[in-house]
């Protein structure tokens, strides 16, 4: 059985200029303990897909979602709010791109993590210990001391670790990471990638990674979905898709990214040629 099974997902936005379909009927699944990436350029629909999994998108008429989002066999798309709250943040947790805007500047990081723990596990006796353990798990030194830090006292990499600690504190089955390292320096990015790897190895958690960086995908994920204009144009095992892409868009996307030691000329994507797809 798959942990997540998305069937014929469509996401439409109503704007003043009429309706636009951001996601045009996609199907994918994520198994227990599996790590899947969605890759695509901005506007391909990858972030809204991730947000729709726990209905984080604005309600109708602004945005309408259709299709099935089966999480542990129950449909998130048709669920009432109270059942949804048991999944959102608890079973499906998120980390976003910009940690500094995701954290509340007026509360200590410990307080913010504790808030999540209290909400989802009200019976917890020693919340503080759970939080300190979570901070320690993501490699923050002196977690006792850092509990009392405000977000501005931490570097970007540390803030992202706090976000991960917050997401992990509720022991989710699926972690959705939307461009978790884009705002970070490359050496810090490596630390965060290694952290996510070790957490997965220890806990056996599923991961949905949203990114445009193929390097991170091959480090972290088993399978990859390539999105283009609201559709999944190719999916498969990472090594297969990266080394032997089948779809013209995937080929074009890989061909326009500079890699170390590259001697070929970069070729920007020719959208007109891809137009018919």
């Amino acid at each position: 059985m798959n942990l997540l099974d998305v069937q014929n997902l469509r996401i439409k936005f109503s704007t003043r200029r009429g309706e636009t379909e951001a996601v045009k009927g996609i199907d994918f699944c994520i198994g227990e303990n599996e790590s899947v990436a969605i890759v695509g350029e901005s506007g391909s629909g990858k972030t809204v897909t991730a947000m729709s999994l726990t209905r984080l998108l604005p309600p109708p008429p602004v945005c309408s979602v259709s299709g099935k989002i089966l999480f542990e066999n129950s449909d998130v798309a048709a669920m009432d709010e109270s059942s949804l709250r048991k999944i959102r943040g608890r079973k499906i947790a998120y980390i976003f791109q910009e940690p500094s805007t995701s954290l509340n500047p007026v509360f200590t990081v410990g307080y913010q993590i504790a808030e999540a723990v209290r909400l989802h596990f009200p019976e917890t006796e020693d919340v503080r210990k759970v939080v300190v353990d979570a901070l320690a798990e993501v490699g923050i030194r002196n977690p006792e001391l850092r509990y009392k830090s405000y977000p501005h006292e931490l570097s970007g990499g540390m803030q992202q670790r706090v976000m991960i600690a917050m997401a992990l504190a509720c022991k989710p089955n699926l972690l959705v990471a939307d461009e978790p390292t884009t705002a970070l320096d490359v050496t810090i990015q490596k630390q965060i990638i290694d952290l996510l790897k070790s957490v997965r190895a220890r806990r056996g958690m599923s991961l949905l990674l949203i990114t445009h960086n193929f390097g991170i995908i091959s480090e972290l994920c088993e399978r990859v979905l390539v999105m283009f204009r609201g559709k999944i144009v190719e999916q498969g095992r990472c090594a297969d898709v990266l080394n032997n892409p089948q779809h013209p868009y995937t080929k074009a996307l890989i061909g326009c990214i500079p890699r170390l030691g590259m001697t070929k000329k970069l070729e920007p994507i020719d959208y007109e040629k891809l137009g018919a797809i």
Binding site: E41, S42, D185, V186, T187, Q189, K190, I193, H212, N213, F214, G215, I216, I217, S218, E219, L242, A252, L253, C256, I257, P258, R259, L260, G261, M262, T263, K265, L266, E267, P268, I269
Partner: protein
Amino acid sequence: MKSSVQSESKRDFSSAEELLRVCNLTVSYPIAGGLFGGSKKVFNAVDDVSFSIRRGEILGLVGESGSGKTTTGRAIIKLAPISGGKIFYRGENISGLDERRFLPYRKKIQMIFQDPFNSLNPRMDIFRIISEPLDIHFKKMSRQKKRDRVAELLEIVGLKPDYMARYPHEFSGGQRQRIGIARALAVEPDFIICDEPVSALDVSVQAQIINLLQNLRDEMNLTFLFVAHDIAVVEYLSDRIMVMTGGKIVEQGDSREVCAHPKHPYTQKLIAAVPKF
């Protein structure tokens, strides 16, 4: 064996004219003390940096946030205060010049900025944005001549001449970066400092801008200082690379050589951190 290595390495500029020489450049900011606080403490953002660039060359400057790479670029055109060292442009010392005597060098040396959304004035149309440097450096140019020049510049950067009546918000990020490049080219500079010109762009647009910069170098024999954090992009575009950390240049050399066989521990760490695929 030797010949294959030769063909992979970049162009050799050792016989070209030395355009810019930076000697022991230091930029420091006060961090504590002064006035009533006792003795002044300073932080050296750029610490005793020396390098030179030859005509037609693309010199890459790579480093993480806070390494001083941006400040180095800005100090060359007096956008950051120099506290020590000298800068020579074609043999002339330009570091001590007052604003009036520095003006001719502002024409020779232009800059392209990172964020195409913040570096264009939203209240000016594209004609005014691109022709503004002409108002300063070519005071006697007629309006018709300016229009012709702007039209020509737009074509050079791959935009339609009739875009000059439009405003920045009507353009995408990649198009705005092209406008920023056209503005830099308006006064026929010899030397362009690019500060992270592609890091805010989608991968395909990034490839377009990289190729555009490369073509400009080839066709106009321009010289570039290319400041960026993405070492793969810097390696691809630059002939030589300098690696900066903590305000110091720790390694410089042929870009292929530095990336394939990094010598300094920091460069090794930086390259090892890049996720590969």
